[in-house]
């Protein structure tokens, strides 16, 4: 059963103005419980804002370092989930349910990527 990492993307600037609706927390809590009870959710966390993040890059044989906040804040990763599903379609369905749980006025994106597992050689 493959594993998938879902990267939740948000626009940090816009997210600051998102209004939560009553019951949102509870709906999301119920959904997470459901995904966990289905034996699907292996790990999930939200991430602190990019203002508290750091970027390192390797270029021309040197490592350079940039502290957040970064100039572009659209589409930054705000959280992640690792799910074990039968296939991509199942990962999509759970992710669809996750997105649909948010208030209508919010804009949230999700990118699903299959984890590239180290191949297990055949045999015993």
């Amino acid at each position: 059963m493959p594993r998938f990492m879902t990267l939740i993307r948000i626009d940090e600037k816009a997210a600051a103005d998102f209004e939560s609706d009553p019951g949102f927390e509870q709906r999301m809590g119920a959904l997470f419980e459901e995904i966990t009870k289905a034996g699907v959710m292996l790990e999930t966390n939200g991430l602190k804002p990019t203002a508290e993040g750091t970027r390192l890059s390797w270029q021309g044989g040197k490592v350079s370092l940039t502290d957040g906040p970064f100039t572009e804040t659209r589409e930054v990763v705000g959280g992640y989930a690792i799910m074990q599903c039968k296939d991509m379609a199942e990962a999509q369905e759970w992710t669809r349910r996750f997105l649909s749980t948010h208030p209508e006025s919010w804009e949230v994106g999700a990118e699903i990527r299959q984890i590239d597992e180290m191949p297990t050689p055949p045999g015993n």
């Binding site: 059963m1 119920a30 419980e33 459901e34 966990t36 009870k37 289905a38 034996g39 699907v40 292996l42 790990e43 690792i82 074990q84 039968k86 296939d87 379609a89 199942e90 999509q92 369905e93 759970w94 649909s100 597992e117 180290m118 191949p119 297990t120 050689p121 055949p122 045999g123 015993n124």
Partner: protein, 413 residues
């Protein structure tokens, strides 16, 4: 969305929900076989409607409500369905309303379904097939391939299992009271057997067999969610998380088995080890918890040299009290030999020499040979390795043992 895309989306939703739908419907019709048919009917209804009307916001609830309405109709039209109802044997007054159930009710029904599929009235083979089919959502073809049997055999097995449950009038309930522990251990054993079938898979490159480990692990995780107050459920989950964390490191490039001591620990799955540790924290002190604790000792040792053999030996001592067996005792002897030296291990092994259960068990002479070699008694060690090789059922293991014997042969003048 294309017609085919819509159908695929419906089937995905159905696969996610089918166990819970079957469970919810079984509570109404009291027959697992009929419940499965009704769940299929709900799937057909969705395949007809969703491509036109779009996928509903809560597709699981849509399927559940549709299936439950059909179930109630079935029970109500009992004159028409006299034959099936003779099997169901329930009266109109007993029919619960098909209202959207809350999450706790659904969980409760699912747990009843688990206990039903693992009921001791069924053979181990039947329990395994039915559990993978109903709870794991595997197709008959997938189960057949994983267990290397023809598909009609599995199909028959499942049909007969459902019939046995109906004939024996197995109540659709979660057992409480005196037989709960025994019934739960039957459930745990089914999951454990499924995992081991995948773990011990020797069938070449058919990935469906190792995939059984993941199916079993998912079942263990589901069960931990359904019965969070049962420590042994967490014990089993922890044991399987730890075992699964090593799957990638257990075989070398040519498929040869790699011993624990030689495994590349960088290939162990840290996420699964972390989950194992978390589950172990809720696991109590039953047999699965103790086995999980042993597996956890290995999993949390950064290097083989860091293994806490004293603790492992003590845990095997506890396991020997909980589930006494010569195999546990043999494992304890190995741990004691690592903790206290080969002499102490050999004393324990020699007490096992007469155990009838170990007669013909190649690991007994193999362990003994290893201890004798460490004690600097090569001639005796060689004889033991040769004896073990003669008993080993697996060609790779036999080659390994003969190789160890050969290395102890004194050089010819």
């Amino acid at each position: 969305m294309t017609e085919r895309g819509a159908a695929a989306a419906v089937e995905t939703v159905f696969r996610i929900e089918s166990a819970r739908i079957i469970a919810g419907v079984t509570r109404i019709v009291r027959d697992v076989g009929i419940a499965e048919e009704i769940a299929q009917d709900a799937l057909v209804a969705a395949l007809e409607q969703w491509p036109r009307s779009g996928v509903p916001d809560r597709p699981g609830a849509w399927l559940m409500t549709t299936a439950k309405h059909r179930a109630v109709d079935l029970v109500r039209r009992r004159e028409t369905y006299a034959r099936k109802l003779a099997e169901v044997g329930r009266s109109l007054e007993d029919v619960p309303p098909p209202e959207p159930a809350d999450a706790d009710d659904i969980d409760d029904d699912l747990l009843r379904l688990v206990f039903t599929a693992c009921h001791p009235v069924l053979s181990a083979e039947a329990r395994i097939a039915l559990t993978l089919r109903l709870i794991g959502g595997l197709t008959t073809a997938e189960i057949a391939r994983a267990f290397l049997v023809p598909e009609p055999t599995v199909a028959q097995r499942i049909v007969r299992a459902k019939r046995t449950i109906a004939t024996a009038r197995v109540p659709f309930e979660v057992p409480y009271g005196a037989d709960r522990a025994a019934r739960l251990s039957s459930v745990l054993e089914v999951i454990y057997l499924i995992f081991n079938e995948g773990y011990a898979a020797t069938a070449g490159d058919d990935l469906l067999r190792p995939a059984l480990c993941e199916d079993a692990l998912r079942l263990a995780r589901v069960l931990a969610g359904l019965a969070p107050d049962e420590p042994e459920v967490h014990g089993l989950a922890a044991l399987l998380e730890f075992q699964a964390s090593r799957l990638a490191a257990r075989t070398g490039p040519d498929g040869e088995p790699v011993l624990l001591a030689d495994q590349n620990r960088a290939r162990w799955d840290r996420l699964l080890i972390r989950r194992g540790v978390a589950a172990l924290g809720r696991a109590g002190s039953g047999p699965y918890a103790v086995q999980a604790a042993i597996a956890g000792c290995h999993a949390t040792a950064a290097r083989y040299e860091d293994t806490d053999w004293t603790r492992i030996a003590a845990l095997y001592g506890r396991l020997a009290v909980l589930t006494p067996s010569p195999v546990v005792e043999l494992n304890r002897a190995v741990a004691v030999s690592m903790a206290e030296g080969p002499e102490a291990g050999l004393a324990l092994v020699d007490r096992l020499a007469q155990a009838p259960a170990l007669r013909g068990y190649h690991l007994l002479p193999s362990v003994r040979g290893d201890l004798l070699e460490r004690l600097g008694r090569p001639a005796e060690a060689r004889a033991e390795f040769e004896r073990a090789a003669a008993l080993a059922g697996n060609a790779r293991e036999r080659a390994l043992l003969l190789d160890r014997a050969a290395r102890l042969t004194p050089p010819q003048p």
